[in-house]
Amino acid sequence: MEVNVKKIYVNEDRCLGCHLCEYYCAFAHSGQKDMVKAFSGEAKPQPRLTIEEGDSINFAVSCRHCETPLCVESCITGAMQIDEDGRVFVDESRCVGCYTCILVCPFGSVIPGKEKAIKKCDLCIESGNPACAENCPNLAIIYEERE
């Protein structure tokens, strides 16, 4: 697909390991307007990214929105799709949680959901600005268009 979509870029040298991206990601997908409320319920909202933490290095991993996404090609139900802007998204109503996408994603970016459907980065389609990048205090996560 010939689209030059904005992507999330992660710079591990700048990552402080503060986990703010994780919280803001979960909050952005919680359906709540108030962060305190979002995290005070029993069912904690689930982030769509994973933070890897090494001895001296940390970084966040979220969907790379591949040009030829293995998850979309492999999805057994057709729930995983790619839209005209090159955004890879899941129609949760059609996902049965078979985890074939988890089997094939080379980045480990697809997350088993607490409910049946898997969870993944949707680039915060509703707001248009990924919450992880917007709230990263040290420019470790940047959302932009690159060649």
Binding site: K7, Y9, V10, N11, E12, T50, E52, G54, I57, F59, V61, R64, H65, C66, E67, T68, L70, E73, S74, I76, T77, G78, S93, R94, V96, G97, C98, Y99, T100, C101, I102, L103, V104, C105, P106, F107, G108, V110, I111, P112, K116, R146
Partner: protein
């Protein structure tokens, strides 16, 4: 503008749909005709057990959005069976006598349930296979809460059938000749692990045994044991539908033989999906890899090549993600070589290494990020280029060196 082509696809499942997408990446205008003996809009075959269970409704059975054929300007001939391929005249002949001409043809005929030559089985009463939506609709009609169900075959299909039926009826017995369930994806110990979990649901297993005859509602097993049933599901395996290609003079082994561009030995005829043989990159052998992702990718590559492109498929390998009663498992690659295992009450993990490469794995329970493992097998990443100690702990991008990691975190093809 390029000359218009006539594309014909026999099949309407993953490989066929992949082929349509592949063709349309290069050729937006030529006609595509899809022919299938099933009358449904393209639907997801693996969902039939979910449908039986009631967790997927009719409207969620479909593999693509309802405007798929329209958007891709496909003509469909559904409920029509192809009788033969006339490869010299480049046309297919339907069972109603009509013919359809092609310039490029995809054979994506899938496979059929194998009914073993057991005395009385072919004509057994209330006996069903578990392969198509229609076959499962028939099962649903036949079962009730009090039905005693026997399933022949403890493979992926048999166990999925059991899971689907478990919502409807309580008495389910699964019989298999093998010494374990899921022999195609699990080792013995892993199979026992999963079997215990399924037995907790009240499902019974009879292993190391097989039917010797079926008479009335009674199955006699080789051990002498007899099982009575109300509903019998035959799920011992599938056979690739190779007849059309074979009869047309194309090269067929166990499955249709293709090159790595999915071309058969017949001019202008391609093949993809469960009817074909794939080259397994883990073992270097040609084998049937009847897996949905494999079918889609083969179909897409066939489509690209049919439309004048040039793309090869060289990443096929056994891989499965499946779950039963909430227990998930992911497996990939070849289970051979040095084995490393980590097993506790809820999780089971085995990793296989040989020739300095990561060759295969089994994960049961904890399956997070398994695709990182799969990619190391697929890309044949030498183990000395990655942190093998971290690798053994869990799938993570930290196993790569900084340069490779940076590339991944800024990439995504």
């Amino acid at each position: 503008m390029k000359e218009k082509m006539k594309y014909v696809i026999i099949g309407n499942s993953a490989a066929a749909i992949g082929c349509v997408s592949g063709i349309r990446t290069l050729d937006k205008v030529s006609s595509i005709t899809l022919i299938s003996d099933e009358s449904h809009f393209t639907y997801s075959r693996p969902l039939i057990s979910y449908w039986l269970k009631g967790s997927v409704t009719d409207d969620k059975m479909y593999y693509r959005n309802s405007d798929f054929y329209e958007k891709n300007t496909c003509t469909t001939l559904l409920g029509k069976k192809v009788d033969k391929i006339d490869a010299s005249a480049k046309k297919v002949v339907l069972d109603d006598g009509n013919t359809v001409e092609y310039d490029k043809l995809l054979v994506a005929t899938g496979s059929s349930p194998f009914v073993p030559p057991v005395e009385g089985l072919a004509n057994a009463q209330n006996s069903f296979t578990f392969m198509t939506w229609d076959s499962v609709k028939a099962v649903k009609e036949a079962v009730s809460k009090d039905s005693k169900v026997v399933i022949m075959g403890a493979g992926l299909i048999g166990l999925k059938a059991a899971e689907g039926l478990h919502e409807v009826c309580e008495d389910i017995t699964i019989v298999d000749l093998a010494d374990r369930i899921l022999p195609s994806i699990l080792d013995k110990k892993g199979a026992d692990f999963v079997q215990k979990h399924i037995e907790k649901e009240g499902i019974k297993f009879v292993l190391n045994d097989a039917a010797s005859s079926v008479k009335g509602n009674t199955i006699s097993l080789k051990s002498g044991q007899e099982l009575t049933y109300d509903v019998l599901i035959v799920a011992v395996g599938v056979r690739p539908n190779t007849g059309l290609v074979k009869d047309a003079g194309g090269n067929v082994n166990r499955g249709v033989v293709t090159d790595n561009r999915q071309a058969t030995t017949l001019d202008g005829v391609y093949s993809a999906g469960d009817c074909t043989e794939s080259f397994d990159i883990c073992t270097g052998q040609n084998k049937i890899l009847a897996l949905l992702p494999n079918a889609y990718m083969q179909g897409e590559i066939a489509g690209i090549n049919m439309a004048g492109g040039d793309k090869t498929f060289d990443t096929a390998m056994p891989m499965n993600a499946i779950g039963f009663f909430g227990l998930h498992m992911i497996t990939a690659g070849a289970m051979e070589g040095e084995c490393l295992e980590a097993i506790d009450d809820n999780n089971y993990k085995k990793m296989y290494f040989s020739d300095g490469l990561f060759k295969g794995y089994i994960l049961i329970g904890e399956i997070s990020r398994a695709g990182i493992y799969t990619s190391l097998i697929r890309e044949k990443t030498p183990m000395d280029q990655i942190d093998s100690n971290l690798l053994k702990v869990s799938p993570q991008l930290l196993v790569f060196d900084k340069k490779a990691r940076q590339h991944k975190l800024a990439g995504g093809k």
